[in-house]
Symmetry: C2
């Protein structure tokens, strides 16, 4: 494989000149540049980025940590991250942590070992202190999920406000007994969506009732089971707010198995607006997060840090969208 030395020899110039041509740095005589380009072409030379990266102490590589790529929620975000990244010459390393603390730690070694110029956390497993430490040493951004106390920038939506809005929608439809399919995880989105649910009820004079709360922990199967339990009660809820679309699908399935019609007998709302929310039968009322944009903004924020243009952590909240579909609103049915 040809190296810069071979090119220099072929073009009868020094390696410095070749490097200058490669990087359009200082001026090179047109004739010389031509000769170098010819030599590059002739030898089919490709710069070895390992050498360049070592010298420049950068890798143009970004670490993106997420629980699992199989969750369709993340795909749009990843596209945003990639697009902005590529536009700036960065490549993305997508890594599944499986929500495992150790695995996340292992991946972070790539930062410490200089194999990555920065990191975007989609759902950090580290605690606030550890996150802050990473944030103080390396460019880092949290996207979607975040730890409030951590000294690391984040991009997200206002989960509290969005959940409040969707529960209010159910209340406006006349529902008074509204169940919740939530999660025991203590990620910020769970906590805020729970709280908003409670608060929306109370603000409308509806007593919060722990019996109407089930836990699905973001899994279809467990949501199905939890919803079944809720719906088999004598005083079953007439509406269910699931804090993710996948769990909403579980809830709808549970309703169907209990021979209840959605939304006539029980209305169901989800959260996230994954592709399947509009493919399901009935189509699911949900909160659309600006996924692509969130990815873009997160990456832009990271790039700023890499360039040293950001002196203190930023917290960016983007707009969401309540999308009303068949699963809650009778008259939207065909």
């Amino acid at each position: 494989m040809a190296t810069i030395v071979d090119v220099a020899r072929e073009a009868e110039v020094s390696v410095a000149t070749v490097s200058r041509v490669l990087n359009n740095s200082t001026s090179v005589l047109p004739k010389t540049r031509e000769a170098v380009l010819e030599a590059i072409e002739k030898l089919n030379y490709k710069p070895n980025l390992l050498g360049r990266n070592l010298r420049r102490s950068q890798t143009k590589m970004i670490l993106v940590l997420l629980p699992t790529v199989s969750n369709p929620f993340y795909s749009g975000i990843v596209k945003g991250i990639e697009d902005i990244g590529h536009k700036n010459g960065y490549n993305i390393m997508l890594c599944n942590t499986n929500s495992d603390y150790q695995r996340e730690k292992t991946y972070l070694e790539l930062l410490k070992n200089k194999l990555s110029d920065g990191v975007i956390f989609m759902a950090p497993e580290l605690n606030e202190e550890e996150l802050s430490e990473i944030g103080s040493k390396y460019p880092a951004v949290q996207c979607c999920e975040y730890k409030e106390g951590a000294c690391v920038s984040h991009v997200s939506i206002d989960n509290y406000k969005a959940a409040y809005e969707i529960v209010s929608h159910l209340i406006e439809l006349g529902h008074r007994r509204i169940g919740l399919i939530g999660s025991k995880s203590n990620c910020i989105s769970s906590i805020q969506r729970h709280e908003a649910y409670k608060r929306a009820l109370e603000d409308n004079g509806i007593q919060f009732d722990t019996d109407l709360v089930g836990y699905g922990n973001y899994s279809y199967k467990r949501a199905l089971k939890a919803a079944k339990a809720l719906l088999s009660r004598d005083d079953r809820p007439t509406a269910i707010f699931a804090i993710s679309d996948i769990m909403a699908i579980g809830a709808i399935r549970a309703a169907k198995e209990a021979r209840l019609r959605v939304p006539h007998d029980v209305a169901v709302a989800g959260f996230d607006n994954i592709d399947f929310a509009s493919m399901y039968d009935p189509m699911i009322t949900t909160i659309a997060q600006p996924r692509y944009e969130m990815g873009c903004v997160a990456m832009e924020l990271l790039l700023k840090q890499i360039k040293g243009e950001l002196d203190e952590p930023k917290s960016i909240m983007l707009d969401y969208n309540l999308i009303i579909r068949e699963s809650t609103k009778v008259d939207t049915l065909k």
Copy 2:
């Protein structure tokens, strides 16, 4: 940031000795090793992998090219690739090509620039010649989709046999008018599934009828439209074979909108067994590919190439599984 020189100074040994401790290469006196480890600990030293990689001419990084991570079909495969990769000290770079030829080419520069030790194609855009060239110069494997003529190993299932089997299942249920929702893409899976459909009909004395073929090109929306057209015919099919689960969902939706019951009025079968196939209502009959295993085998094959243990391309076919669910079989209904 501490370097190996700092550690050597601190431990009062040479850099060679530090390196030996780091790599457990040749013998080092226990006392010396102890001193080195202490220095490493004290300075919180982490080897700079850029230096190591340059010297060793390897990156322990694998490029995985797929159309888009948002397709849930790929997630299981990626897990297999990751698991085997990590077990062997490799990291994965997942890259979305968006089925774009240029983008795929761009990513392949990472191989040429030595930033990646090998590549796994999930659905190559390159032509056979270009693939063969990559395969001759770098470790490479095709997984799931592949170009038959390319001189690059591949791991897949027998798409032809699987499709033949699922169409036979529909025929056994008594269907004679069976529609196809396929794709105009000329990837091997489309072609083979189409051919098998045709052949299965003919082998059972059913005339192949182009009027019963619609094209969805792997998209929900287009499959919905194509299925609507098929189902609005006077001589509408009583069964539909969609060559992907997502398109099967489109077909089911089309049936529902036409007030046809699935499977009573029209049976629908898919392909891939994505998670949503068993979450949909009705649950979808489909072919389960051994996704995780395919990922594992692909990665193992790649590692063999990297180690130079593979002299010629291998073609590995794994077993699939026909899973019969509600969407085709009346008596499996609750």
